[in-house]
């Protein structure tokens, strides 16, 4: 039986609880065990702009905590994934860096020796469980549902570190969408940024980028966007609503989190997946279920 330390990060418990709920339901169905390490802290991502070094200490502490439990880290957030995996990579590559962070960690009697693997939810599903095994659990798949899969930057790039998928023509997410019976549409902006990193910093630019993606997704014929990162999801959900209020968007293209999509196809009740917790109404998706 597979077991991971589930790394929720900061956004999910506070603002995207449905991601936590739905991921756990789906993982349970797939026989994946997760442990919660309460001492986990922020991955360090928001810290990078001002102080990369301190952000590495954030990551190192999390890695050390998982290593202590002898578990790999499973992240739901792509920015946590990118940050933790990048940090683990640097600790391996750059001489002396690990000792430096261990000197800091020793104050809490922690240490990191480079044994922790960092995995994102999507790649774990795709690589460790596999689409065939997932398909077996899909009891009532979707029909005629078109989904625009949004890959998310920090899972894909930098690809030499992330090893998630082909950074230019990725398939992992599309295949995982197809497993649910939905059709993953081809859209030119699927690997582009959602705009979230600039929200609150340069809203105009942030919303311009989001608007481009929404327009592109809509034009590709998608009924829903699908995200696997709380930042992207908040951008497509809460911020799309904000944009509508400001008259900056009218595509009305709601985003569903991947485990919600998969969960519905597995026959898990929508309430259990937190469908009602999304800001933009998702209820119409049930009409596509067989």
């Amino acid at each position: 039986m597979m077991k991971y330390a589930l790394f929720l990060g900061c956004n999910i418990p506070a603002r995207v609880k449905q991601y936590d709920l739905s991921a756990r339901s789906v993982l349970k169905k797939l026989g994946v065990n997760v442990a919660d390490i309460r001492e986990f802290n922020c991955c360090g991502y928001p810290m990078k702009n001002s102080d990369f070094k301190t952000s590495l200490l954030f990551s190192a502490r999390n890695l050390a905590l998982a290593e202590k439990e002898n578990l790999s880290i499973l992240t739901l957030c792509q920015c946590c994934f990118g940050t933790l995996k990048k940090a683990a990579h640097l600790f391996k590559e750059e001489i002396g860096l690990k000792d430096e962070v261990n000197a800091f960690l020793s104050k809490e009697k922690l240490s990191y020796h480079g044994k922790v693997e960092v995995k994102h939810f999507l790649s774990m599903l795709h690589k460790e469980i596999g689409t065939t095994a997932i398909k077996e659990k899909v009891s009532n798949g979707f029909k005629k549902l078109k989904i625009a899969a949004h890959y998310g930057c920090h899972a894909l790039r930098p690809s030499d570190v992330m090893q998630f998928d082909d950074p230019v023509a990725p398939v992992v997410f599309d295949e995982l969408v197809d497993v649910t019976g939905a059709e993953s549409v081809d859209w030119s902006m699927k690997t582009e940024c959602c705009g979230a990193p600039l929200l609150g910093v340069n809203d105009d630019l942030s919303m311009t980028l989001t608007e481009k993606k929404l327009a592109n997704g809509k034009a590709s014929g998608a009924d829903f966007l699908c995200a696997a990162c709380p930042w992207c999801q908040l951008q497509f959900d809460t911020v799309q609503k904000l944009m509508e209020a400001k008259g900056r968007s009218n595509h009305n293209l709601p985003s569903i989190l991947y485990p919600q999509l998969l969960g519905l196809a597995m026959g898990i009740p929508g309430e259990e997946l937190g469908i009602q917790m999304n800001q933009k109404d998702l209820s119409s998706i049930k009409a596509f279920l067989t």
Binding site: C10, R15, N41, K48, F52, T54, C153, P158, G200, K212
Partner: protein, 583 residues
């Protein structure tokens, strides 16, 4: 006389203090919200809100919260079992002592017709309750000094609270001990209650008390003959036993009396009982008078905070009540450190040393800030960093044992603190995301100000961007940049750049503008080239740095393996560092 005067004086100070402290809940302006309502408006709203809660179905919720959260404190139990036991011991023991012992005339004597403080079970219970408090204080000191609970800091108020409690308890036990061993006390009791004249009989009774009750007498020589003890026992039975249970049942005082043994007579002659009595009641009265101004005020404020949080929904509440609630919450905080223990960004405190990053210390700071509102530049910078370096993960709010809505408190206070002139460099980072999500709650005019101030401060240095006519010297590669970079291996890749402009071509930010150079200053490839030319200052001043999404498209598409995004991170770090040292 002194007792009565000091009692009434301390009661008066206590009452005035309570009224003053509670009035500050309506007058103190916390964050931007605090300025929106007058004290009268806030008071009116509070009365309406309280009455509305009491005369509705919410009353049930209030009662439930009172039992589970205020009396049983289950929220603490959930977080930390040892702390829960500690707190229950201290507050439970103290409350019982207060009711049974301090208010004996008003409560215990009325409840029990045959009440005498010297009779069991009361004699025993007084010591037992005291023991509970002492064990609790012991655990508290153990947690702070020996166990060293992570990130729990001890400030002057925490020390005061432990010291005053310990003083009351220890003086009480010692007072009891001196009374038991006191010869003059024995003589007084014989005179007052026994009505005995025969010196032999008195000596027999005295012998019995020396043997059994811990009295230390100058007249009795040990060992005492069994015959005398038997006589003494009989006299004791007929004269004393009805109103005085064995001193041994007051185990703490008895132990103290035994410990005094050799010096008991000296203590007695020096009026030790009286001195200790003064210490005991004066420390109680001081604690009472100072309660509204000390950490002990949490007894009132935390209870109110817990019940408020049970019935108040921030989304639906009158904002005037939220302003009042936040002022009250500052008093409700017990500085227990649970929030700091669970804080998602506490590592930053470890790395940067800024205490106000930790929520418990931030709140502690806000307490004094709320009453004075004055800060020097350094303090302002520290608290701005402390309040902004927060992922708004809600953990502090979820775990707070007294139900403080820290999430909303931070949001509100943050707005006030970042509106000050000092630029907040952290605002140009994903730490601003939560603020962006909640922008409709903010005044649109003030919303963008901190961001533009930060941008200006960061761009201030770049001479080249401001004066494009300035001649650029073609110096060799800036060795300084490589040296300054945190991860030098990544940073040094800029030397491979041959200006193919792929990075700029794939950049979604660049692609969003008609005339990108005007908007972002230098384009990504220009930044790489300026590093190649040793023009670090040019690169550091570019607006592009702060509009970078960190989507890694540039880095992914570089045919030369230049770590463009990572280099931009390095540049941002350097700019922040320089701007920090400059101010």
């Amino acid at each position: 006389m002194i007792f009565s005067i000091s009692l009434y004086l301390s009661l008066a100070v206590f009452l005035v203090g309570m009224i003053y402290k509670i009035s500050t809940w309506f007058t103190r302006k916390i964050g931007i919200l605090g300025y929106r309502f007058s004290p009268a408006q806030r008071f009116g709203a509070a009365v309406k809100g309280i009455l509305g809660a009491i005369f509705s179905a919410k009353l049930f919720v209030l009662v439930r919260s009172f039992v589970l959260n205020v009396v049983l404190q289950l929220q603490i139990a959930k977080e930390d079992r040892l702390r829960w036991i500690m707190h229950l011991l201290i507050y439970g023991g103290f409350m019982l002592l207060l009711l049974m012992h301090a208010l004996e005339k008003h409560i215990t004597a009325r409840l029990f017709n045959d009440y005498y403080s010297t009779v069991n079970p009361f004699l025993f219970l007084r010591d037992f309750f005291g023991l509970l408090v002492v064990i609790g204080i012991g655990i508290a000191i153990f947690r702070r000094a020996i166990l060293k609970v992570p990130r729990m800091m001890t400030n002057a108020m925490d020390r005061y609270a432990l010291v005053i409690l310990a003083l009351i308890m220890i003086s009480g036990v010692l007072l009891e001990g001196t009374k038991m061993s006191s010869y003059s006390e024995f003589q007084r009791m014989v005179q007052d209650y026994a009505g005995m004249d025969d010196p032999d009989e008195i000596k027999a009774l005295e012998s019995y008390w020396v043997h059994e009750y811990g009295t230390v007498s100058p007249n009795i020589k040990t060992p005492i003959e069994q015959e005398v003890l038997d006589q003494g026992f009989e006299l004791h039975q007929s004269n004393c036993a009805d109103c005085h249970s064995p001193n041994k049942s007051a185990f703490a005082g008895y132990a103290a009396a035994k410990a005094f043994g050799p010096v008991a007579l000296t203590i007695d002659r020096a009026a030790g009982t009286t001195i200790l009595w003064y210490i005991h009641f004066l420390s109680c009265f001081f604690g009472l008078a100072y309660l509204p101004f000390s950490k002990m005020f949490h007894v009132v404020a935390s209870s109110i905070s817990l019940m408020t949080s049970a019935v108040m929904d921030p989304a639906k509440s009158n904002p005037a009540n939220i302003a009042t609630r936040q002022a009250m919450e500052l008093d409700a905080c017990t500085h227990c450190g649970t929030c700091s223990l669970r804080c998602s960004v506490a590592v930053a405190f470890g790395a940067l040393g800024n205490r106000t990053i930790l929520p418990a210390e931030k709140l502690s700071f806000l307490k004094s800030y709320a009453s004075q509102k004055e800060l020097d530049t350094k303090e302002l910078q520290a608290i701005q960093e402390g309040i902004y370096l927060c992922t708004n993960c809600d953990r502090c709010t979820v775990v707070c044992p007294v139900g403080i809505n820290l999430r909303d408190l931070w949001f509100n206070v943050r707005e006030e603190l970042i509106s000050r002139k000092q630029p907040v460099l952290l605002s140009l980072s994903p730490f601003s995301f939560y603020r962006g999500l909640n922008q409709l709650k903010l005044d649109s005019a003030g919303y963008g100000q901190p961001l533009s101030r930060a941008r200006e401060a960061l761009a201030a240095k770049s001479v080249f961007l401001k004066t494009p006519e300035k001649v650029i010297p073609l110096t060799p590669i800036d060795k300084g940049f490589k040296g300054q970079a945190v991860r030098s291996m990544q940073a040094s890749t800029f030397t491979f750049c041959f200006s193919c402009e792929n990075c700029t071509t794939v950049c979604p930010v660049v692609g969003s503008f008609e005339n990108p150079q005007e908007e972002v200053g230098l384009l990504p490839h220009q930044i790489m080239r300026s590093l190649g030319l040793g023009l670090k200052d040019l690169a550091l001043g570019s607006k592009m740095l702060w509009d970078c999404l960190t989507c890694y498209q540039c880095q992914e598409h570089c045919p030369q393996g230049v770590k463009v995004t990572d280099i931009l991170y390095e540049l941002k770090n350097m700019t922040v560092k320089e701007a920090k040292t400059a101010s």
